[in-house]
């Protein structure tokens, strides 16, 4: 038993729903109690889908238990087939139905439905949403895809995008463009945008582009083995990764590598003088493994940040994330415990967080700016405008989104110069945000998506300082005069400096000695 306040991932059947809802012509019959229908709102509200997810829930009640839950399932499956006439059906159980052991898969098979019925075994008490999506997509591919003649032209399947995915909608377009520039067309994009009959012709592609290992790696491996289709390992997020991706595709296909850089602005924007202020910004990176690996590389190599901590919530990606962290000289934080992430951030005092909506809330509470790089998603993660993460435009988007929460270059100097001016002083935030970056913890309020709110006092009382040294009043006052966006760093550096020298009390002198010590 584990106490959980906020979760990064839903249960595995929500992953199955993400696959089903992204597809057309597929229906999911889910043995589940009524409350589980809440999951529909994830799609209709957060992603603003204009259709209900193609899911029929059996909504059994206590009085059905022991009596007739099995029949209830069969009726629901038959009604769903009659009403929706899908090309294929997936069936499975949610956490509660798993306990009553009705075996939806077995029952559905005996019903003689005239379409393929694909049973799902998703262990709700061990695994989570990403596993559910990955396993569901794998089962669908395994059931429907067969080896077949390749297309004459070189084609690829794009695999991994699902409903409720972080920018999947726009990444598809960007990757399609990258391939198209090399003369490669797309055979099938799946699961999102495909139907069961599309899945059946996936074997015609020459290779697979694995866009999101979280949701399609098992299927990619199976297709490599059974359909003889190699798949790409590089996820093209960031300039360097996009170049690597192009090289990888060229290697797989024998096509000449080509990348149209005319729209690529990140490299110049990052070199231009205004970006000098980005140098060495201390960032903490957290999210799903794929986006964290990509973001850490972009942060260090393309933005000039200093990555001071990184980690992911999906254990499936722990290994590569640990390896990269090691390469960065760090120890990865692999956890799905939101409070642990919060404690880590509090201890590291980064100047910026690249995280999820959860970390955005942690950042709000701690007064640290945050840019969102990964699911779990919020209604804000489905912008109306084109906003990919992958490819060339994706790199441009990363630059803009990551710089946005920070104070602009020249503005930072002005803040220093006028640090006693009432408008700039203390909690004055970046001028382009119309408000302070440091709201009172109690007023955090959001509407429109499953954004975790501020959990506040569930964590233990804050100690005097994280190092046990004491700030004298005048030093504390002096510290407050330092603009908020460097104050965390100053506080931390000073405390480290004091601790290392065995100084128990921090005076104004200690503050400036530390400043001199750390001056670069």
């Amino acid at each position: 038993m584990k106490l959980t306040v906020w979760t990064y991932e839903g249960p595995p059947h929500v992953g199955a729903m993400r696959v089903a809802t992204g597809m057309t012509g597929l229906h999911y019959v889910l043995h589940a109690p009524q409350g589980d229908t809440y999951a529909d709102l994830l799609f209709t509200m957060i992603e603003r889908r204009n259709h209900r997810p193609p899911v029929t829930y059996t909504t059994f009640q206590a009085r059905d238990l022991g009596a007739d839950t099995a029949n209830l399932f069969k009726t629901a499956a038959q009604d769903a087939y009659d009403r929706f006439k899908p090309e294929a059906i997936i069936v499975g159980a949610s956490c509660t139905a798993e306990l009553i052991q009705d075996d939806p898969g077995g029952m559905a098979e005996t019903m003689g439905l005239p379409v393929p019925v694909i049973p799902l075994e998703l262990p709700s008490y061990q695994r989570k949403e990403n596993f559910g999506a990955d396993e569901t997509f794998f089962q669908i591919v395994k059931a429907l895809a067969r080896p077949m003649e390749r297309t004459k032209q070189i084609t690829a399947n794009l695999i991994g995008p699902t409903a409720l995915g972080f920018r999947h909608r726009d990444d598809i377009q960007e990757v399609t463009a990258l391939l198209s520039d090399m003369g490669i067309s797309v055979n099938v994009v799946a699961p999102m945008t495909s139907s069961p009959s599309d899945i059946a012709r996936m074997g015609a592609a020459h290779f697979n582009v694995l866009m999101y290992p979280e949701t399609a790696e098992t299927a990619a491996r199976w297709m490599e083995r059974e359909l003889d289709q190699p798949y790409t390992r590089v996820v093209p997020i960031g300039v360097g990764a996009t170049r690597d991706f192009i090289a990888e595709v060229a290697k797989i296909t024998g096509v000449v590598p080509y990348m149209d850089e005319s729209r690529l602005r990140l490299p110049w924007y990052s070199k231009s003088v205004d970006s000098t202020y980005l140098t060495g910004k201390r960032v903490f990176v957290f999210g799903d493994g794929t986006h964290v690996l990509a973001a850490a590389r972009v942060a260090r190599d393309e933005m000039g940040f200093e990555v001071v901590g990184m980690g992911c919530y999906n254990r499936e990606m722990a290994r590569p994330v640990r390896a990269m962290a090691k390469d960065f000289g760090l120890t990865a934080t692999i956890t799905d415990d939101y409070l642990e992430v919060e404690r880590t951030i509090e201890a590291l005092q980064p100047e910026m967080i690249l995280g999820t909506q959860m970390e955005r809330h942690i950042g709000k509470r701690l007064g640290i700016p945050c840019a969102v790089i990964s699911a779990p998603v919020h209604v804000q993660d489905f912008p109306a405008r084109y906003s990919p993460q992958m490819g060339i435009e994706g790199a441009n988007v990363l630059f803009d989104t990551w710089v946005h929460p920070l104070v602009m270059g020249l503005e930072e100097h002005l803040l220093h110069m006028f640090r006693d001016d009432f408008e700039f002083h203390d909690a004055a935030g970046a001028s382009h945000h119309g408000g302070h970056t440091k709201p009172a913890p109690q007023e955090v309020a959001d509407a429109g998506g499953p954004a975790p709110q501020t959990p506040g006092s569930i964590s233990e009382e804050k100690k005097n300082t994280s190092f046990g040294v004491i700030w004298l009043d005048d030093a504390e006052r002096e510290l407050k005069k330092i603009p908020f966006f460097v104050r965390g760093k100053a506080r931390r550096n000073t405390e480290t400096f004091a601790t290392e020298r065995g100084v128990a009390e921090i005076s104004v002198d200690t503050l400036y000695e530390a400043k001199a010590h750390y001056a670069r």
């Binding site: 409350g35 589980d36 909504t59 956490c95 709110q453 959990p455």
Partner: protein, 427 residues
């Protein structure tokens, strides 16, 4: 006494046959109630014993609501807990010990049952008893079910309040008890009106804090402020308290009828009643009439959600001039909702429970001007050109009593005004 609402000449809906269909129900489970209950009871923590699904539901439902610091969490059952029940009780003790050690501000702990905990028959009342002894006197531990196999949406609040009744101290004092978790501002208004009529002492269930001196007994009369409190009603009756049946305090008529039922019980002078209610009542009428301009003559269709549907249909048809096509509720408890049914003119289909696909067919065929439904259905219906109002907003927005009557009408008129304002289609 002020003129009371006239009943419809053609007869109300109390005896209208109820349409009952059995199929997929698209509603939240009772766990959802925790989202507003934990804000109301400031020293309470709600610990769901359930699965990742339960935690995800709370988080997803919470995300569309407004609140700050949660005093709720989920003890997620794992494989090991499912293997042997004795373990699960021990594990639960561990989780609770840690929680209480970290949160000394907690004075009431609710162990909330879920589908998984009920299917594996994890005995939470036994656990609550054990923990109450262990943590007495600083923390009181209670349990109730919010599971989807036992409860629907607002029934979670009912189950929670009902669980508190048996442990209330006994008192023979003559008192009025207001039952239901309302936003503070609304609660204060109601108490203000009643006190101005000389009624007292007035107590509230749930009390904001465990230490508040709330007792119950044969001298207690109680008024429900929410229509979904059937079990709480029964539990209070068992403690010797007496229910004051009344329409629910939505809109001018509902509020007046509700106050009048209490005033009659306390022998309030009609002139005093008139004096106290006249001004807010006039304000309510004026505010409602503004929104009613948009709503008048429009049709409305209720999907079952919060159990507020029947009182709201009564308000919208009688005070805002709307026509109800179908009014459905997850449960219809005539002993509680009877006065509202009496006032709702015959005509609409009254339905209980749901087969969501069939009901969607009916709604699409009827093409109501406004559909009141859950979050899962709203955008798909909007995409079909049907204006919607999310039912969940009605549960945590201040909508009760005179001063909120205009806001309540406004919640329904806004989607229609918006549909009118937008010029988005190609000519």
């Amino acid at each position: 006494m002020t003129e009371l609402p006239r009943l419809p000449a053609s007869g109300g809906c109390r005896d209208t046959p109820i349409l009952k269909q059995r199929g997929q129900r698209e509603v939240f489970c009772g766990l959802t109630g925790i989202i507003w209950l934990h804000r109301k009871m400031q020293d309470a923590f709600f610990l769901v014993i359930g699965s990742r699904t339960c935690a995800h539901l709370l988080q997803s439902a919470a995300g569309v609501m407004i609140f700050a610091e949660p005093r709720f969490g989920t003890a997620i059952l794992e494989e090991t807990d499912l293997a042997g029940l004795a373990d699960a009780q021990d594990e639960l003790d561990k989780v609770v010990d840690e929680l209480l050690a970290r949160r000394p501000d907690i004075k009431q702990l609710f162990l909330v049952g879920s589908c998984p905990s009920e299917v594996i028959k994890l005995d939470l009342s036994k656990a609550a008893e054990r923990m109450t002894q262990r943590h007495a006197p600083s923390v009181r531990v209670l349990n109730f079910s919010g599971s989807g196999i036992e409860t629907t949406f607002t029934q979670g609040e009912d189950a929670c309040l009902a669980s508190m009744v048996p442990v209330l101290p006994k008192t023979d004092e003559r008192q009025l008890l207001l039952v239901g978790a309302l936003p503070d501002v609304v609660e204060e208004q109601a108490i203000g009106l009643l006190e101005a009529m000389g009624i007292g002492p007035i107590k509230v269930l749930p009390a904001p804090r465990a230490s508040d001196d709330l007792g119950v007994g044969t001298g207690t009369v109680y008024a429900l402020t929410q229509p979904f409190l059937g079990d709480t009603h029964d539990a209070l009756t068992r403690r010797g308290a007496r229910h004051l049946p009344a329409p629910f305090p939505f809109g001018d008529e509902g509020t007046t009828g509700w106050l009048a039922a209490i005033a009659t019980e306390f022998n309030v002078d009609p002139a005093l009643f008139e004096k106290v209610t006249a001004a807010p009542r006039a304000r309510a009428r004026k505010a409602i009439s503004q929104a009613a301009e948009t709503l008048n003559g429009k049709s409305v269709f209720f999907f079952p959600d919060s159990q507020l549907e029947i009182p709201l249909a009564r308000f919208l048809t009688r005070e805002c001039g709307m026509d109800a096509i179908e009014v459905s509720a997850p449960f219809i408890h005539k002993g509680i909702i009877g006065p509202d049914l009496d006032m709702l003119a015959e005509g609409p289909t009254i339905s209980e429970g749901q087969d969501v696909d069939l009901q969607l067919d009916r709604a699409r065929a009827a093409r109501p001007d406004l559909t009141v439904c859950g979050l899962g259905l709203a955008n798909p219906l909007e995409a079909d050109g049907l204006a919607t109002k999310w039912a969940i907003e009605l549960v945590f927005t201040p909508v009760h009593f005179y001063e909120q009557a205009g806001d309540l009408a406004g919640l329904f008129s806004r989607p229609l005004r918006r549909a009118d304002l937008l010029k988005l289609e190609a000519p």
